[in-house]
């Protein structure tokens, strides 16, 4: 066993209001520089939608991530030989139009224009060429647009749905959508690290943050191709690739990353988890339930054996303690209500999502209503489509099978197509709501509440805990950041006792006494 610690995250999608505060916080701190304007280390996508860069999930286009190759796995679009053959042109790279051309406005025109018949306008100016441009697209161009034919209907995840089911998704006034905030997943089996010909990318030993060494990066851009989440960006100004650093300077100071700290909906959780690094290759190449396999890799921080092995491997006591208090561990392992995004890319992402429950107002389904139509008078108005918009749900929560988004769609995002797994998570989330409603409003029969809990293998206490961490959690509950032990790191670099007995701080000045 090679036990290591990994700082991992949970995003609770039910709570995301799509305000983009996280993106702005991140941009203000890290990517407000020349060459980095188009980078969104943190971005919020509307789902269904094509995301940023457009259609990033479609690896038929971008060839990111791993693919199974016999008993092992190999990179889909990069790696030793594919990388060597493509090293000078790298055909699968996203181009700037797949992102967008960053721009600003010529604000001075507003106040410096000469007097005329028309109001002055601030023309958009490209941040790359400096010339006036037509704005063609933006980082969240399809924000809040779920029914758009250009973006929402091009969502790669819709491929698993039948045309009828797809149509159903867009029928509700084309307004059924939710948000998917994304940052670097700081994967356990990062494709970017594997693809880098220069060896510039590494996974930090102490907390598993994946970083690009800017001094070693040689701009091959293989990581841009290899990352299936397209979270590695190329800075055209510095000629180096950059990516989310999980605000490690903040983490080391005990602060939550900027995106998490600023989150209005408080959807983000951060904590440490212990995992067995020996199993990475085996699990990444495994068959069957990829999500379960990944969860099996994450170890119980209360287990005496594991604590012993972790200590033997140099994991600090404080880190083990943080792992025991980790909210992420609770969401992911204990309660099993958080799922990784696109586990089929086989990078073992360590950012987990609690899927959105989406309160069910009604359901829509494809029904053969021919018999019904025939009974109508010929002059009566009737719809010849086959949709049934059904508001007659028995429960106020509806049933899981009637959620707006087909399970297939959610499964394509979070469980590699395993609908039962998503259903199980949604059921648990619903059980917590029914339990809490029974408790606070009291209009739900206690027998029913108990049945719902036992169906989802939960105790009332667990449901209360989930409720607490979801709705009431304080800052310190949401972010359990392990101490970085910077003082120890310092001692490795310098002899702190060198200055012991020296005469304080400041510059040495000779006394001037007129001598």
């Amino acid at each position: 066993m090679d036990i290591r610690s990994q700082v991992s995250m949970v995003f609770h999608l039910d709570k995301c209001i799509g305000c983009h505060t996280c993106s702005i916080a991140c941009k203000n701190i890290w990517t407000d520089r020349k060459g980095a304007e188009y980078m969104w280390w943190n971005n919020v996508e509307t789902k269904p939608g094509t995301g940023y860069p457009t259609k990033w999930e479609d690896q038929g286009i971008y060839k990111g991530g791993w693919e199974k190759n016999g008993d092992s796995i190999s990179l889909k679009g990069a790696g030793k030989f594919k990388g060597l053959f493509n090293i000078f042109h790298n055909p699968h790279l996203p181009v700037l139009d797949d992102y967008y051309e960053p721009w600003t406005y010529k604000y001075t025109d507003l106040i410096e224009s000469p007097e005329g018949d028309d109001q002055p306008t601030a023309r958009p100016v490209s941040l790359i060429t400096g010339k006036p441009i037509d704005i063609k697209s933006g980082p969240n161009w399809d924000d809040d647009l779920s029914g758009s034919p250009d973006y929402a209907r091009q969502d790669p995840n819709l491929e698993s749905l039948s045309p009828g089911e797809r149509e159903a998704m867009f029928q509700l006034e084309r307004m059924a959508f939710y948000y998917l905030p994304r940052i670097c997943n700081h994967c356990l089996n990062p494709a970017c690290v594997a693809s880098c010909p220069s060896g510039a990318i590494y996974k930090r030993g102490e907390d598993g943050v994946v970083l690009i060494n800017q001094k070693v990066c040689r701009a091959w851009r293989m990581c841009v191709t290899a990352c299936p989440y397209k979270k590695s960006y190329y800075n055209w100004s510095t000629g180096k690739s950059e990516k989310c650093i999980l605000c490690y300077p903040r983490l080391e100071a005990g602060l939550a990353p900027a995106c998490m700290h600023s989150c209005v909906g408080r959807i983000r959780y951060l904590g440490v988890m212990l995992y067995d690094a020996d199993k990475v290759q085996e699990i990444a190449a495994s068959d069957g339930d990829l999500v379960q396999n990944q969860l099996d890799m994450i170890l119980n921080p209360f287990d005496e054996e594991i604590i012993k092995a972790a200590k033997a491997n140099g994991v600090a006591d404080s880190t083990i303690k943080a792992a025991q208090n980790s909210p992420v561990y609770k969401f992911v392992k204990e309660w099993g209500i958080a799922l990784p995004l696109h586990p089929e890319f086989r990078t073992l992402p360590m950012l987990f999502y609690v899927p959105p429950l989406l309160p069910v107002m009604a359901s829509i389904s494809e029904k053969n209503n021919k018999a019904q139509s025939e009974q109508l008078d010929p002059i009566a108005k009737f719809w010849d489509d086959q949709w049934l918009y059904d508001t007659s749900t028995e429960e106020i929560w509806g049933s899981v099978d009637q959620v707006r988004f087909p399970m297939k769609y959610m499964a394509s995002l979070f469980t590699n197509g395993d609908e039962e797994k998503v259903k199980d998570v949604i059921r648990k989330l619903m059980a917590v709501r029914i339990h809490r409603r029974g408790k606070t409003v009291g209009d739900i029969d206690s027998v029913k509440v108990e049945k719902v809990l036992s169906d989802t293998r939960m105790s009332a206490d667990t449901a209360d805990e989930i409720y607490y961490l979801t709705s009431l959690a304080k800052f310190d509950d949401r972010f359990v950041i392990p101490p970085a032990h910077r003082e120890q790191a310092f001692e490795m670099l310098e002899h702190t006792s060198d200055m012991k007995g020296a005469t304080g701080f400041g510059f040495k000045e000779a006394p001037s006494r007129g001598m």
Binding site: P91, H92, D134, K136
Partner: protein, 290 residues
């Protein structure tokens, strides 16, 4: 060891008995090094005319100015000079970097020689050029000799004295040889122009300034000159009878076909590549400002 001692003794004797030959540039020496490549005295035409009795045919003043710079004289419209130039295939006689005294020495030598030599007009087939060791004449040169000449020409065999290979400046159309340099004249048909004797003389004793400089300190040996002339004769006759295959078109066509083939193959391999932005269709539709 014994032999080399003998040779060195002979050499030493030569050295001691004919000091003038080595140290002074007398008229005959100057003629040999500057004129003999193209002219004879009573030996018939080579590149230029036979110079027998030239001193009686022309005035000394005319000869002096022609030798110093033939082109200046031709350009000035001198009738005789223009006629001469046209008669000899418009081969330009290079300007000679000789002092007036030296030219006079040469002319004196020619006058002297003219008295002894009798005019002959022979058809030059190279019989007079003999291999210095085996004594074979150029007319008898066989395939091996021609090949050796070719190898000297293209530099497969280096010249004994280290001179540059002919191909670096000259071209000869030959089926088995790559194109040569373009710095100097194309030698394919040069034997027709100069005759084997002229070519041989030009090789052993270059008259043109650039060639003269190139081979000043590393002259071509008579043996090498024999092989080279044999090769040039062969190249000349091959070319005259149209044996030479021009391969430049072949190269171009193969290149064209090869690149078309590569385009098709790699086009096929890369057919599935991402060729344009995924947003291409959306952007194409958008209205653009003027």
């Amino acid at each position: 060891m014994k032999n080399s001692l003998k040779y060195s003794t002979v050499f030493l004797l030569l050295f001691l008995t004919t000091p003038e030959y080595l140290y002074s540039q007398s008229g005959d020496q100057l003629f040999l090094s500057n004129c003999r490549a193209c002219h004879t005295v009573g030996g018939g035409k080579l590149v230029g005319p036979d110079l027998k009795d030239v001193t009686t045919r022309r005035t000394e003043q005319w000869l002096l100015s022609f030798i110093k710079s033939s082109q200046t004289l031709i350009n000035s419209g001198d009738k005789d000079a223009v006629a001469l130039f046209n008669e000899y295939n418009k081969v330009q006689m290079p300007d000679q970097n000789l002092s007036e005294a030296q030219i006079k020495d040469i002319l004196a030598y020619i006058t002297k020689e003219s008295q002894s030599a009798s005019t002959t007009n022979v058809v030059d087939k190279g019989e007079s050029i003999k291999h210095p060791v085996i004594g074979k004449s150029l007319a008898e040169a066989n395939r091996d000799d021609i090949n050796t000449g070719k190898e000297y020409f293209e530099g497969t065999i280096r010249f004994a004295n280290g001179g540059p290979s002919c191909i670096s400046c000259h071209n000869v159309d030959h089926a088995d040889m790559i194109s040569g340099g373009l710095f100097a004249i194309d030698l394919t048909l040069t034997v027709s122009r100069l005759g084997p004797t002229g070519v041989h003389a030009m090789i052993t004793n270059p008259g043109f300034p650039a060639m003269k400089t190139s081979f000043q300190n590393n002259s071509i040996t008579p043996e090498e000159a024999f092989y080279l002339t044999a090769f040039l004769m062969k190249a000349n006759s091959d070319s005259e009878f149209g044996v030479v295959k021009n391969s430049s078109g072949f190269l171009f066509n193969t290149g064209l076909m090869g690149s078309a083939f590569l385009f098709i193959v790699f086009g096929g391999i890369w057919w599935d590549r991402k060729r344009k932005s995924v947003n291409h269709d959306i952007f194409k539709r958008q209205i653009k400002s003027k």
